[in-house]
């Protein structure tokens, strides 16, 4: 075990993957000498050279499109998109090309491309630097979408994503980059465990589902709820697509209540999909409709207002109270 920050765990994972497989290469803006604006690739170009750690021109569509070409040729590219809000120029290459190539080629062409996206808010940035675009990708068949919440998962899940033969969108919660934790780099994960949810805290009364940046907030909320007599089970979703419904339904059938929290807007978000699917799968076990505590349906706000937009401990507890029927329902909802 080594004590690593979230970002060091990612850096170590990239290094180890590159050492294991010489077809793994990194592409992105400023990832070479600078080591990326978040320093995730720090020192890698020095050690692996400019053909394996490639500073690309400023063109996200170009980066992903070229990564597809490299994958065609047998490489295993790991792409860094500098910030969440800059992924959209690459949207066509991701959605129309990367996601569909395996299907279009009748399974002949595999594109093991990993797209790393630092995402989410809470760091006081200007616009386009704090977004949560995961639902766009989860909605697209052919893409797998995962998000680690702690240094160990950052290390393990990134290595698994790179080794996966399908394209993986790897959502990194940038405001947790400095979180420190014990990381076992020798750990051999079970096959398929990249797409498993993780029950982080067991509880009887309510299932609280979070991923990425809000997992820590969810755990804090569960601790705070103890004082209010509510025993919360916290699940780190880890894989946004595919969803580990086996773990989720077992929990919800036990607790009868579910709360989903994410930073992204509520309409058409991951919470909507989980809420509908869990209702379908657990309807007879539910004591209350699933509750969602999320960002509002607004463009990401300026830094001085972001604390209102981002779900925090109090807003999650407010949602818990509604699920427990301690609070009146929201405007527009039934009691």
């Amino acid at each position: 075990m080594t004590s690593l920050t979230f970002s060091q765990a990612l850096n170590t994972s990239l290094r180890d993957s590159m050492e294991r497989d010489d077809k793994v290469l990194l592409m992105g803006e400023d990832i070479g000498k600078l080591g990326g604006v978040f320093r995730i690739t720090d020192g890698l170009q020095k050690d692996f050279g400019q053909h394996r750690v490639i500073d690309t021109p400023l063109a996200e569509s170009g980066i992903v499109g070229a990564a597809i070409g490299l994958a065609f040729r047998g490489y295993r590219p790991v792409v860094e998109i500098q910030f969440d809000g800059f992924v959209y120029p690459a949207f066509d290459q991701i959605v129309s090309q990367l996601a569909k190539m395996h299907f279009r080629s009748r399974g002949n062409v595999k594109l093991p491309v990993t797209i790393r996206i630092p995402f989410g808010g809470g760091i006081g940035s200007p616009e386009h630097h704090s977004e949560s675009p995961e639902a766009y990708f989860a909605h697209t068949a052919g893409l797998r979408v995962v998000s680690p919440s702690n240094p160990q998962d950052a290390y393990t899940m990134l290595a698994q994503a790179i080794a996966d033969d399908d394209p993986v969108i790897f959502m990194e919660p940038k405001r947790r980059y400095h979180t420190r934790g014990e990381v076992d780099t020798e750990l051999v994960p079970e096959p398929g465990s990249l797409y498993r949810a993780n029950v982080l805290r067991e509880g009887r009364d309510l299932t609280l589902i979070a991923y990425g940046p809000l997992v820590k907030t969810a755990l804090d909320a569960a601790e705070a709820a103890v004082d209010e007599g509510v025993d919360i089970e916290v699940i780190d979703l880890r894989s946004i697509e595919p969803v580990d419904f086996e773990t989720l339904t077992a929990s919800v059938r036990k607790t009868g209540r579910v709360l989903i929290t994410h930073e992204a807007s509520i309409s058409g978000g991951i919470g909507a999909e989980l809420s509908a699917s869990l209702t379908e799968r657990c309807f007879d076990h539910l004591d209350h409709a699933p509750v969602r505590v999320t960002g509002f349906d607004i463009p990401y706000p300026p830094a001085k207002l972001e604390s209102h937009h981002l779900p925090d401990l109090d807003r999650i507890l407010d949602g818990v109270d509604r699920a427990m029927r301690r609070n009146p329902p929201l405007v527009g909802e039934d009691g």
Binding site: V37, L58, G124, A303
Partner: protein, 400 residues
């Protein structure tokens, strides 16, 4: 008007010993680990770094009117935006701004072009054009509120004929092309101008913007400040040749100028504007300049940039050059210094006052302006959040 392809790349200063192609060959063959050919040989220049006036047939006619008072005004403008920039960085360091993108070194490019524009011309900037915004007379509050994190943007674009800052690299160039198509369809004499950097030229949007502008012969000037660095990536990551050459390939009239020479920039911008106003199609200016500061206050250029390169560019400073030129013309530099000091101090005081008097945004602002008319679901969210917040107020009241 003819395309300026050859003209723009012709030497403007000292006579050459060899034709350009041969010179490039020599440079490459004689130098181990050869750097790019010396750039100063390949752009238009009116005033050399030491302040001497150079004859420049391509540009001279466009700046015949610039007498000493006019040049002094350009100097004061550049000093003001340099001060504005220093204050921006200082305010960020003091926690008053969330971020700042320094323009240091690019004063001539921004003032030279900004002062060439007419009021009706419409500007589509990136995020570093504080100097162009200054030329538009934008209020300090409006200049700073986005950087303070207090609002999504600063000014009303229609009040100043300048779109809000664009952070997504190169996206604004298409907006300029479209705006210019509208100008043409309307029979307007105004022009659009897009500002962007060397890094942006790699974005598909920028190429597409040139395609649209050329296809519809739209009155738009693409103004590329080649400041040599896109965060940590040198311009050689974006192109192996001259950026201006690429524009020529799209059929745009093209000028490559010394971006630290305010007179050359002004001349080229006037020429480009005149070209597009005559309906001769879009134009492109590559202003060769240098980002003396960091990409933003969140960046540390010492990780990737050689200090010697900074020194080299410091010797081409846009302000020193015009001061030396004015000295040569017999201007009273002492008196100019005093006027400059007053103007820059006033500028700094205005910025300070703007920061101290700027109110924090209201929670209500979260939900305002997402749509132009009411949206039922968002209205519910606004109401629910207000109820949620008032619950805290009631609890606090009850606890008293």
């Amino acid at each position: 008007m003819r395309l300026r392809l050859a003209g723009a790349l012709r030497p403007t200063g000292m006579p050459r010993l060899f034709p350009q192609s041969m010179q490039r060959m020599l440079t490459v063959s004689l130098t181990f680990d050869s750097p790019a050919p010396e750039e100063t040989e390949n752009y238009l220049q009116v005033v050399a770094p030491d302040g001497t006036r150079r004859p420049c047939p391509e540009l001279d006619e466009w700046v015949k009117d610039l007498d000493v008072p006019a040049l002094e005004k350009l100097y004061i403008d550049m000093a003001c935006i340099r001060r504005l920039d220093m204050e921006g960085t200082a305010l960020q360091r003091q926690g008053e701004l969330g971020l700042w993108a320094p323009l240091l070194g690019q004063e001539a490019s921004q003032i030279g072009s900004g002062r060439a524009l007419e009021h009706d011309d419409f500007i589509f900037p990136s995020y570093r054009e504080h100097g162009v915004a200054y030329c538009r007379g934008i209020d300090p509050h409006d200049l700073l509120r986005m950087w303070r994190g207090a609002a999504p943007s600063g000014w009303n674009p229609y009040e100043v004929n300048m779109a809000n800052q664009q952070i997504v690299i190169g996206a604004q160039t298409l907006h300029a092309a479209g705006y210019a198509m509208g100008l043409k369809f309307d029979g307007s004499q105004a022009a659009a101008i897009a500002y962007f950097g060397d890094g942006a030229t790699s974005q598909g949007d920028v190429s597409e913007a040139m395609v649209f502008a050329a296809s519809y012969q739209a009155p738009v000037v693409f103004f590329c400040q080649n400041n040599h660095w896109a965060i940590s990536e040198p311009v050689s990551t974006q192109t192996t040749g001259y950026i201006a050459d690429r524009a020529a390939g799209f059929g745009l009239a093209t000028w490559r100028v010394d971006g630290n020479d305010v007179i050359a920039v002004m001349a080229a911008t006037r020429a480009a504007l005149a070209h597009v106003r005559t309906g001769s199609g879009p134009a492109f200016i590559e202003a060769v300049t240098y980002r003396m500061g960091a990409h933003t206050t969140a960046d540390d250029p010492t990780r990737y940039r050689d200090a010697l390169e900074l020194e080299e560019w410091a010797a081409k400073d846009p302000l020193d050059r015009i001061a030396a030129h004015l000295g040569g013309l017999g201007a009273d530099l002492e008196e100019l210094k005093q006027r400059t000091e007053k103007a820059t101090n006033d500028m700094a005081a205005g910025l300070r006052e703007a920061i101290t008097s700027m109110p924090d945004p209201e929670v209500e602002d979260l939900f305002t302006n997402v749509y132009s008319h009411p949206h039922p679901r968002l209205d519910e969210q606004r109401e629910n959040y207000a109820n949620y917040l008032s619950g805290f107020a009631q609890e606090a009241e009850a606890a008293k």
